[in-house]
């Protein structure tokens, strides 16, 4: 292009650039086909990979932690068996099978067994008791007699303050075949032979404490006047009575809209008749994606809790629409019920009406992108629902962060979750 000497260089640059086109590079179409195939595969498969990876990590962590707990439990059983031996040894030597079994030793053994059984889960009662009694060959007491004793009776913990010797003497006065519960002296738990640490409360706490919470959630999402439904699964690990850390995966749909700007596809490309009465009112988008949060939960009182955290949001699909409004002139029909005030309208005989229409917008800037995600805040209230399940209602608010906040739509949103925990 021959430059115009009277023009400024910037105008000349703009003109040159307007007409500029680069040559076609050989192999570009083939590379495009590869790119398209790879992109399609990437879009389709990555959510599954992410989900699978998250599931594997959660499973691994769960197994590791659960295995750790079981090991602790088994260690406690061993400790209690040793304790029993220590308690048994001073007096009657119950572990020695050669000695005759009298009622005193039998009651003593039963008492020890009860203690061990109390400290362990019910499923292991029989095994523990059998192990305790295995040293006495001549022991003819039936297993069911032992099992019949009320292991969880409060009397086990509410015995009198007499010592171990006294307990033996009390036991010796009762018939050996008695099925009633033999009171266990408190000193057995705090016996000087064992050490001063009280066994039962600590062990029982570990057995009963729930370290993991699984929940399924339904989360209606409210943005402007649209309500969308999403949902997912969540898992939480209780760090202490008050605090837990949680994660999960949830499917989410989010709608947003904004006023158009000049960069949007111009109306003349979308308008069929080229009418100037048709105008682009809003651009709306509907995103669907996976939200993977990491939350810190703090219990406030028995039923309330607060949640705060961040989440990664990956857009699986975006549908963007241009919303048009068209003003059209409609001839008013003559009506006998016209009031005097309508006489002017009747004379003109023409009314302007708005027609709203929607077209798909080609631009989908969110689709296929991995956005940083959201800041998440929520407050929950637990409702007792079923014996092993809690129902909670959790209002929440999500604020976009990272590259998600840089985009053209305002993606602040909120709603409330309905959460069922197991």
């Amino acid at each position: 292009m021959k430059p115009d000497k009277n023009k400024d260089i910037t105008k000349h640059i703009a003109e040159v650039l307007k007409g500029h086109s680069l040559p076609y590079e050989e192999g570009a179409w083939e590379r495009f086909k590869d790119f398209e195939t790879t992109k399609k595969r990437k879009i389709v498969l990555w959510p599954y990979f992410t989900g699978a990876a998250a599931a594997v990590v959660l499973l691994a962590v769960s197994l590791f932690l659960f295995t750790g707990e079981n090991k602790n439990e088994s260690q406690q059983v061993v400790k209690q068996d040793v304790t029993k031996d220590i308690v048994d040894t001073p007096d009657n030597g119950l572990t020695d099978s050669s000695e005759p079994i009298n009622s005193e030793s039998l009651v003593s053994t039963t008492t020890q067994s009860n203690l061990v059984a109390t400290l362990n889960k019910r499923q292991t009662e029989s095994a523990v008791i059998s192990n305790s009694l295995s040293g006495s060959n001549s022991l003819d007491i039936e297993q069911r007699d032992l099992n019949r004793t009320d292991l969880s009776s409060p009397s086990l913990y509410q015995s009198d303050t007499s010592g171990y010797k006294e307990a033996q003497s009390i036991a010796s006065t009762e018939p050996s075949t008695s099925n009633s519960v033999t009171p266990v002296p408190k000193e057995i738990y705090t016996s000087p032979h064992i050490g001063s640490e009280p066994l039962s409360p600590h062990v029982v706490n570990i057995a009963d404490n729930k370290k993991w919470d699984f929940s399924v959630e339904l989360s209606p999402n409210i943005k402007d006047k649209d309500v969308n439904f999403g949902g997912g699964v969540a898992i939480a690990y209780n760090l202490s009575d008050k605090i837990s850390i949680g994660s999960g995966v949830s499917y989410m749909q989010l709608d947003a809209q904004r006023a158009p700007n000049g960069i949007d596809i111009p109306a003349e490309f979308s308008t069929l008749d080229g009418s100037k009465n048709k105008s682009l009112n809003t651009i709306s988008t509907s995103l669907t994606g996976l939200d993977i949060p990491i939350n810190l939960k703090m219990n406030v009182g028995n039923a309330m809790y607060v949640n705060a955290g961040v989440s990664v949001f990956s857009v699986l699909n975006e549908s963007r629409y241009n919303n048009f409004e068209e003003r059209i002139a409609v001839t008013a029909l003559a009506s006998p019920a016209f009031s005097p005030s309508d006489s002017r309208k009747e004379k003109s005989g023409v009314e302007a009406q708005s027609l709203h229409s929607q077209e798909v917008n080609s631009s989908t800037p969110y689709e296929g992108k991995n956005f940083t995600g959201f800041f998440n805040f929520s407050v929950g209230y637990k409702l007792p629902f079923l014996p092993k399940m809690n129902l909670a209602i959790e209002p929440y608010f999500k604020i976009p962060i990272g590259s998600l906040s840089d985009q053209d739509m305002d993606l602040n949103n909120g709603g409330f979750k309905i959460k069922a925990s197991f």
């Binding site: 009277n6 040159v16 650039l17 570009a28 000049g262 490309f269 308008t271 080609s362």
Partner: protein, 212 residues
């Protein structure tokens, strides 16, 4: 539209009397109607250079440019059914199609720069010195490559605003809405972009003179 030709682009096109020469108008139709692979290939080959040039005006990295070119075509093919051209002359359709796909390319380029955090726009005003217009006349031997080099030396925001206003033809109001900046900021950056281009151009001419 009559029958669709059996082959074109990579194979020799046999034109019978009842067939049209495969052109962009046919390809847009065929692609919109049936997602025809051959039509896509024709569009791609025909518009590749144009799209590449549009994106090169915004993005400097050639690897990013190639990826954005392909992204542009993917989005365009996906949304081609929304490109309306009813009651439009065939000759105008091609022109509008260039504009339509060019805007997709420009939008993607701006989104790309935004995602890379390259757009840091300060809301400050232009100085009196900068406002003083000093016209610099273009030389005869100014090549496109020289112009692209000059353009690449502009900061990202200045380059985008110069492209949007001077090349694409947007108003400051439209640019302000797109970039979420005040109109005055758009004007400021355009003035700076022009001043910088004049300066860079003068320096380039000085170097050329010395070399000659």
């Amino acid at each position: 539209m009559n029958s669709i030709p059996i082959s074109f682009v990579s194979e020799p096109v046999v034109i019978s009397r009842d067939q049209h020469v495969p052109n962009l108008f046919w390809a847009i139709n065929a692609c919109a109607r049936s997602n025809d692979e051959r039509a896509k290939e024709l569009i791609y080959r025909k518009l590749y250079g144009y799209i590449n040039a549009v994106i090169s005006r915004y993005v400097k990295d050639i690897h990013d440019t190639e990826e954005l070119v392909n992204e542009t075509f993917i989005k365009a093919f996906k949304a081609i059914h929304t490109f309306s051209y009813a009651d439009m002359e065939e000759s105008k359709v091609e022109k509008f199609f260039y504009g339509w796909i060019g805007r997709i390319a420009a939008n993607l380029s701006i989104d790309h720069l935004r995602s890379k955090k390259r757009l840091r726009i300060k809301d400050d005003s232009v100085s009196e010195e900068e406002l003083r217009k000093v016209y610099v006349a273009p030389a005869d031997n100014l090549e496109v490559q020289d112009i692209l080099k000059l353009l690449s030396q502009l900061p990202d925001v200045q380059r985008i605003i110069f492209n949007l206003y001077e090349v694409e033809g947007f108003s400051h109001q439209e640019i302000a809405q797109q970039l979420k900046i005040p109109e005055s900021t758009s004007r400021t950056y355009l003035t700076r972009a022009k001043q910088r281009l004049r300066l860079l151009y003068s320096q380039l001419m000085e170097i050329n003179k010395r070399n000659n």
